[in-house]
């Protein structure tokens, strides 16, 4: 019989597939048979090879990790509304995975005996389950990031990001197909094409593509007098049509056109002529796509003779970014390409600035990017943080040398401003004498921070220590890194200060995973993604990597990947941190593109359930790495 509790359960279940497809009466009878199960953090739900329970589970609150015990990896984390533990019941098999509560959780245990008849009688429920078992995801209806947090797949290997760059970009084709039938006369056909301003006409029979007529056919076969203008379309059409599936990359499309020496490709549902035409792709479309191609952009940027010429090219970079995010290309790869393009832009700005100088520099120098740019995590435009480091010179020449480089840095920062980087409000730029000095000047400054650390020094360190060499003499940068490491080894307490700073930003969720939102100010009731989610991870990666005496890796997830390699015992956590970082950065970038801002502040009400869940999954990792910092660096000692 229905009661307040079963109503609650039915109310919850009906929001999630496959229960959303159940009849009201089915849902009611199902909900009265449910058991509500409470699991403490780290409690076992079922074990590998355990005999199947007589019920499967739906997560009501909390999160359940599904572990592959053989490889000791988490395969999936189920949260609110996710279903698990059903397959073994259907297949009369033992559990292949171990299910452990990743946090305090409440589960609904649904008896298979009650649910099974509903699967059989309800085709949509059946389809959902078949699809989800086949695709091995919990929710095949969630097309975005299907079953994976990042859309990273084995076939995408960021380390081979050289030549295949061109090949990840999908072609943009026209979905607006104009078609005709084989019996149409050439005259009517040509008039139609002229009216619509198109260069090719698809010929269909029973809704399937059978031929194509292009401008070239009309020129070669009609204008030459080979066929009269009254001839039927079938007389001159190219048949059969060459068809491809819609998931075609730019390179594939180019190859296809070259191979068959044709100017148009017809894209069909399954890539053969047996299915309906979905799109048409012309050589012109391919050329346009190529314009948004990283390699082409790089060439154009390198050809730029004025700062102003780079500005529109950076718009192309933004379009590329948008396209990559839409196509769900792995974040590590996306970020690498975009960062490299940004890098090329900055290098070109430095080169152009050097040309503006009356003379070539007398001593070696290096241009460093700091902050998010240094970490290669700057996908959307943000502020410029940079520094100029030059070779040690005799004291009497210092002033003249610094003046020379200050002038250069001024040109560079102006150039960067022209191409779209805002000036740094805190004046952390190479045009500021403080950030434009000799190697020994930087060595003295950083050693002071490390030996005598206050809040100001910590803040400066967090920005400066993510520097990345952009232009000039790399040995200078290396030498600076080495002296910093030496100092840190001598003064390990500095790391505790850094760790303490990393813990300053409170974790993103309160008890039981409510989001902590801003309490006051301009962004009251917004969630500060940068402060609460990104910064804790960035700060943690920095202090941990410095504690291992490693410089030269400034990107946060690459730092975590390195840490996972160095500390196999905590590898799972560090990999999770890397993933979380990528997911959050992608999230921020998408939000930023959507709202045309930095993506930093997020209105929670505007997020879908799925987006919120994705965010929450990363928060757990943040909490864990903060706990690790607390223990490892004995933060309470310096607080």
């Amino acid at each position: 019989m229905q009661n307040s509790i079963s109503y609650r359960i039915a109310d919850f279940l009906k929001r999630y597939p496959p229960f959303s497809s159940l009849l009201k009466s089915e849902l009611e009878s199902l909900s009265t048979e449910v058991a509500i199960v409470y699991k403490e953090k780290r409690a076992l739900v079922f074990d590998l090879d355990e005999k199947p329970h007589d019920h499967f589970y739906v997560v009501h609150k909390g999160a359940i990790g599904l572990w592959n015990m053989k490889e000791n990896v988490v395969l999936d984390v189920c949260d609110e509304g996710d279903l698990f533990g059903l397959r073994p019941l259907m297949a009369h098999d033992t559990y292949r995975l171990q299910a452990i509560a990743e946090e305090e959780s409440i589960l609904y245990a649904i008896p298979i005996a009650v649910f099974e008849p509903m699967i059989k009688s309800n085709i949509r429920v059946n389809d959902f389950l078949v699809e989800s078992f086949a695709s091995n995801t919990r929710n095949p209806y969630a097309k975005i990031d299907k079953g994976q947090l990042l859309g990273d797949t084995a076939s995408f290997n960021p380390s081979t990001s050289g030549p295949p760059l061109l090949d990840v970009q999908l072609v943009e084709y026209s979905k607006n197909i104009t078609s005709s039938v084989a019996e149409e006369t050439i005259e009517t056909l040509a008039k139609k094409m002229t009216a619509k301003g198109i260069g090719a006409m698809l010929i269909e029979k029973d809704g399937l593509p059978i031929g194509i007529i292009t401008d070239k056919d009309i020129r070669n076969k009609i204008a030459t007098g080979q066929y009269p203008i009254t001839a039927k379309a079938e007389a001159i059409m190219s048949s059969p049509v060459i068809t491809y599936p819609t998931q075609l990359t730019v390179t594939q499309a180019q190859m296809a056109m070259m191979k068959s020496n044709i100017s148009h490709l017809i894209l069909t549902a399954d890539g053969t002529t047996n299915t309906k035409a979905i799109g048409i792709l012309s050589k012109h479309d391919v050329m346009l796509s190529l314009g948004n191609n990283p390699a082409v952009l790089v060439k154009a940027i390198k050809r730029a003779k004025l700062f102003e010429e780079i500005t529109p090219l950076r718009k192309g970079v933004m379009n590329l970014l948008r396209g990559y995010l839409d196509q769900n290309i792995p974040m590590a790869l996306t970020s690498k390409i975009i960062s490299e393009l940004n890098d090329v832009c900055i290098k070109q700005v430095v080169k152009l600035a050097l040309k503006k100088m009356p003379s070539a520099p007398k001593v070696k120098f290096a241009w460093l990017a700091m902050g998010s740019q240094g970490r290669s995590e700057q996908l959307l435009h943000t502020d410029q943080d940079n520094a100029l480091l030059f070779e040690n010179v005799p004291e009497e020449e210092f002033k003249a040398t610094q003046d020379y480089f200050l002038q250069l840095a001024k040109y560079i920062t102006e150039g960067l401003n022209i191409i779209g980087y805002e000036y740094c409000p805190a004046d952390m730029m190479g045009s500021n004498p403080k950030w434009c000095t000799s190697l020994s000047g930087f060595q003295k400054m950083t050693s002071k921070w490390i030996r005598n650390t206050g809040p100001e020094e910590v803040l400066l360190s967090t920005i400066f220590f993510d520097y990345n060499h952009v232009y000039g003499d790399e040995n200078l940068t290396k030498e600076l890194s080495e002296s910093i490491l030496k100092n840190i080894t001598a003064y390990p307490i500095f790391l505790s200060h850094l760790a303490s700073n990393a813990l300053m930003n409170p974790s993103p969720t309160g008890f039981f995973r409510q989001f902590l939102i801003e309490q006051d100010g301009e962004y009251k009731d917004f969630f500060d993604l940068k402060k609460r989610a990104l910064m804790p991870l960035i700060d943690a990666a920095r202090v941990l990597i410095l504690s291992h005496h490693i410089t030269g890796i400034s990107n946060t997830w690459e730092r975590f990947e390195k840490l996972a390699e160095l500390r196999p015992k905590s590898a799972a956590l560090f990999m999770a941190c890397g993933y979380a970082m990528k997911a959050l950065l992608k999230f921020r970038t998408k939000q930023g593109l959507l709202h045309n801002d930095s993506g930093r502040y997020i209105s929670l009400t505007a997020l879908s359930k799925e987006e919120k869940m994705k965010l929450k999954r990363t928060f757990k990792t943040i909490k864990e790495v903060q706990e690790l910092l607390n223990i490892r660096f004995m933060v309470s000692r310096v607080r």
Binding site: N3, Y38, F511
Partner: protein, 223 residues
């Protein structure tokens, strides 16, 4: 008084009583807990009456919906002021049963379980009065008060001297939806989930440890 103890009681009472021959398991995971809530016409144990009883059983962290129940009781005594809170009209549309029938169903689920309620003293007081009206003895169950337990689960500095926490405070703390607040079973559910959260914080070594009385036990206040 002595003669009353020898009085013949109906079978369901004898069954209820017999269940106490077996003591409680030392292992908390094996103990039956029954979480209940009563909605009443007011807060005077002697004068006011029970309008509905909601109860559910928890064993080993699991609540079976099938074992939960809610009954609405016919009452002559009626206080208009409390109707606003519970929304239970004296002659509502819901099916009502006699007070005795409601008690029978509760005893049947209850047996020797540990009885849990938010401000348990009040619910037990109301139930004992109802039992007395129907010629039955008092409840024999060990009891736990979620308000007291919650206080105990907090760090020292957050504890309240009077141990007074409302069910709404607990619901907010543990993020439990209060959509069906002020129905007996709805409140029992909130109390039950809150109890599970508290239990995982307290991690009592044994059942006896959980049941140990502290200075707040038995304390209750309306609302």
């Amino acid at each position: 008084m002595i003669s009353r103890r020898k009085k013949e009681y109906p079978d369901y009472w004898n069954e209820y009583e017999a269940s106490f021959y077996n003591g409680l398991s030392k292992n908390v995971g094996n103990v039956n807990f029954v979480v209940l809530d009563t909605e009443t016409t007011g807060f005077d144990v002697k004068r006011d009456r029970i309008l509905s009883i909601g109860a559910l059983r928890i064993k080993n962290g699991t609540i079976n919906v099938r074992e939960s129940f809610e009954v609405f009781i016919e009452q002559k005594h009626f206080d208009e002021k409390t109707v606003a809170i519970h929304g239970i009209l004296k002659k509502g549309k819901v099916k009502q049963v006699s007070e005795l029938e409601g008690l029978k169903r509760l005893l049947c689920l209850l047996k020797n379980a540990v009885l849990i309620a938010h401000h348990v003293g009040f619910d037990v007081g109301m139930l004992n009065q109802a039992l007395k009206r129907n010629g039955l003895p008092k409840l024999k169950n060990r009891t736990l008060d979620t308000a007291v337990l919650y206080n105990r689960s907090l760090p020292q500095r957050e504890q309240k001297i009077n141990g007074h926490f409302t069910l709404d405070e607990l619901a907010a703390k543990f993020d439990i939806s209060t959509t069906d607040r002020h129905t007996a079973l709805g409140d029992a559910y909130i109390t039950g989930i809150a109890f599970l959260h508290i239990l995982s914080k307290l991690k009592p070594a044994s059942t006896q440890n959980l049941l140990k009385r502290d200075r707040f036990s038995g304390f209750w206040r309306p609302f």
